[in-house]
């Protein structure tokens, strides 16, 4: 419908409707602007300044970004973060899928999945504290191994990259349950007919998974993997709880580097530059991944 086909009265009514609509959405827009857009703009502005949290920020252009990429500790953080992205895809998502596949068709499968969900109720810091007790130099794991006569154990939280690997496993302990739950929902939503047809054709086990279940799980896998990538890119709490990024900066992630520069060193400009970098990387990774996974050629 175009403006020419409307009477003057209808046009007036439409304008009134638009104004009242704007009035209704304005408070929401304002809240979003102040709470979401403003911090983003402010952080981007700070990343181009030198600022110690006192006085006024001093414009330094791209100096923080140059300093950031010059810092070998930052490059180490990027590599650790990539390890987290890869590790959390392989372990919590992979095991979650395995648990879902093994239990979704079983009688009483819910009871088998339930224990995996319990750790999800804990905060990341809580998980960190518990696993620190287990993995520290004289912790529960070493004591248990010593009881079996194994004394020469690795220094789980001291040697890199072992410390990052064990922290990924601790995260998996917490994250498997929710991934299993999501995959189970996906499996339960698959229509019965194609499954039964495939079974009648003799498809079972891996063949059934590869040809029927996996393609039909794709929309849900896209969401689970997408969430996992975003969550792992901003890994902070469990590392802060277990190693504080140490020893040295061996297990630091990007989120931890951002926190240290901003709040420990009071380098608000440099911390903001890392925050902007992390935001851009997360956005690009999410957009590229979701666009590739959810494109129309996959029929979603």
């Amino acid at each position: 419908m175009t403006d020419k086909t409307l009477s003057p009265k209808a046009l007036r009514q439409r304008d009134q409707y638009r104004w009242s609509a704007l009035g209704f959405i304005a408070p929401g827009v304002l809240i979003v602007a102040v709470l979401l857009y403003l911090p983003l703009l402010w952080t981007t502005f700070l990343s181009l300044t030198e600022y110690n949290g006192l006085g006024d920020p001093e414009w330094t252009g791209l100096a923080n970004y140059v300093e950031m990429f010059d810092d070998p500790g930052f490059i180490g953080s990027v590599l650790n973060t990539l390890l987290w992205v890869g590790g959390t895809l392989l372990v919590p998502v992979g095991i979650g899928l395995g648990v879902a596949l093994l239990t979704w068709n079983l009688k009483g499968g819910t009871w088998l999945r339930l224990p995996f969900l319990i750790p999800y109720a804990l905060s990341g810091i809580g998980v960190g504290v518990i696993w620190s007790f287990i993995l520290s130099g004289d912790g529960a794991l070493d004591q248990a191994l010593a009881a079996f006569g194994i004394a020469d154990t690795p220094r789980w939280l001291v040697d890199a990259p072992l410390n990052t690997v064990v922290m990924i496993l601790a995260t998996a302990w917490q994250g498997v349950g929710v991934n299993a739950l999501l995959f189970t929902i996906g499996l339960q939503s698959i229509p019965r007919e194609p499954l039964e047809a495939a079974r009648m054709d003799g498809a079972n086990g891996m063949r059934l998974f590869r040809s029927i279940l996996w393609p039909m799980l794709r929309p849900l896998t896209a969401v689970v993997v997408g969430l996992s990538i975003v969550a792992s890119l901003k890994t902070f709490d469990i590392v802060q709880g277990m190693t504080k990024g140490g020893p040295g900066r061996d297990s630091e992630t990007l989120a931890l580097t951002m926190y240290k520069e901003t709040f420990v060193n009071s380098e608000y400009g440099l911390g903001s530059a890392i925050a902007v970098f992390l935001t851009v990387v997360t956005l690009i990774a999410s957009i590229l991944y979701l666009r590739q996974q959810l494109s129309s050629k996959h029929g979603v």
Partner: protein
């Protein structure tokens, strides 16, 4: 329909908020010198001690502290810095001496306490030496909340069993450590997080106090041969198995109690932790001043840590905060504080509850000892952060110290270049 008004609204709101955010804060001093004073501290664990002190401050100065304790130092620092932009800047808060305090004073955010210090020194309530740590450009800011000397605590039962007496020279200390190691007892405690600096501090200042001061001012480089030699001494000791497992999460006081190690280099506030772990001062544990590495030094250097109590210049409770600060320096307040906290007192006229701490205070302020600022306060924050990480990495994997020192020096070069 895509309306241009929505992006415009967002832009206008963002711009308005930016203007608001950039406005400075602050409030008028209400002039009250009695009442309830809002007090913020990063020592959340000490909150009951401050509350206990209220009974004395209410009768002595008619002021009651309303204490808010933070347990995360970084979060606390950010909170205090942001508060200066509001009309809620604190009437009293704890901070750190050294570069962190200088930073606030440079921005005119801290109330001067020159008059309070003049009176306290005249009354003999505080040593003029301590005033130096609180003096910036000839004026004083804040008052000392506490004072701690960094000494060596030891497990008396282990020393007795091994027939080891308190070492009075560096050679005796080395001999004691070697004897303990031979007997299968780890001599020293260490950790790879936060408290990673004290052995470095002890070795450098004990070798040459000028060298130590030079690191704090940038005149000495971490890569200078003297520092490398000192780190190699530390490496030799690490390789000899003189230090505890760096990855242990056992509470240090509990570790000393159960004999995981025989000695621990800590501030004199550690008495409180050891008492809390069930050890008895003078019976189960004792302490000694660590002898200088260089026996040719005229005076034995002792690291001192002093945390300030500050008043914000633009606080509505500025007068009240300053009135409390003045009372805080008095023997009455410091006697009550020492009883509440179990700590040494900076005021020589105060009565110290624990005889071991009283003796320590008398010893280190007497002839033959000189006090120097602890590494944590003496070192500019960006250098300190890297140094703590690098010492932690060295402790976790003791090896050639040069790469660790180079990493610290790289940060120091950046920092001192920015200061020029």
């Amino acid at each position: 329909m895509r309306s241009p008004r929505i992006p415009l609204t967002i832009a206008a709101a963002a711009a308005a908020s930016l203007v608001l955010a950039s406005c400075g804060g602050g409030a008028e001093d209400d002039g009250a010198t009695t009442g309830t004073l809002d007090f913020y501290t990063n020592k959340a664990a000490w909150e009951p001690d401050f509350d206990e002190l209220n009974a004395t401050s209410e009768s002595g100065a008619d002021i009651t502290l309303d204490t808010t304790g933070y347990s995360d130092a970084a979060q606390y620092d950010a909170f205090i810095k942001q508060s200066f932009r509001t009309d809620k800047s604190p009437g009293l808060f704890t901070w750190q001496t050294g570069p962190s305090l200088n930073e606030l004073v440079e921005e005119d955010l801290i109330a001067q306490t020159t008059d309070i210090w003049t009176k306290a020194v005249d009354e003999g309530w505080v040593s003029p030496d301590l005033r130096d740590s609180y003096t910036i450009d000839g004026e004083q800011y804040c008052v000392p909340m506490n004072i701690a000397y960094w000494v060596m605590y030891y497990n008396k039962a282990i020393f007795d069993e091994q027939g080891i007496a308190e070492p009075t020279t560096w050679a005796e200390l080395d001999a004691a450590a070697a004897q303990l190691a031979d007997a299968g007892i780890t001599p020293y405690y260490q950790t790879s997080t936060l408290f990673t600096f004290q052995w470095f501090q002890q070795l450098v200042a004990g070798t040459d106090p000028e060298l130590y001061n030079g690191l704090a001012t940038g005149e000495v480089k971490y890569t200078d041969p003297e520092i490398v030699d000192i780190m190699n001494t530390w490496l030799d000791q690490e390789e000899a198995g003189w230090f505890s497992d760096a990855g242990s999460t056992v509470d240090p006081a509990v570790g000393l109690k159960q004999g995981d190690y025989a000695m621990i280099n800590f501030g004199s506030f550690f008495n409180g932790s050891l008492d809390g772990a069930g050890m008895v001062s003078g019976e189960d544990y004792d302490m000694f001043v660590i002898p200088a590495v260089n026996e040719g030094l005229e005076k034995t250097p002792v690291a001192v840590e002093s945390g300030p109590l500050c008043v914000a210049e633009n606080s509505s409770q500025k007068s009240l905060g300053l009135a409390y600060s003045e009372w805080w320096m008095s023997p009455e307040a410091q006697t009550a504080w020492s009883a509440a906290r179990g700590d040494v007192a900076f005021n020589p006229q105060a009565t110290v509850a624990d005889p071991m701490l009283e003796e320590l205070g008398t010893t280190v302020t007497g002839e033959g000892y000189e006090l120097y600022d602890r590494y944590y306060e003496a070192t500019p924050t960006p250098i300190l952060t890297v140094a703590l990480e690098q010492f932690g990495a060295f402790i976790a994997n003791p090896s050639d110290p040069v790469p660790f020192l180079e990493a610290i020096q790289a940060e120091a070069d950046d920092y001192w270049a920015d200061q020029e």
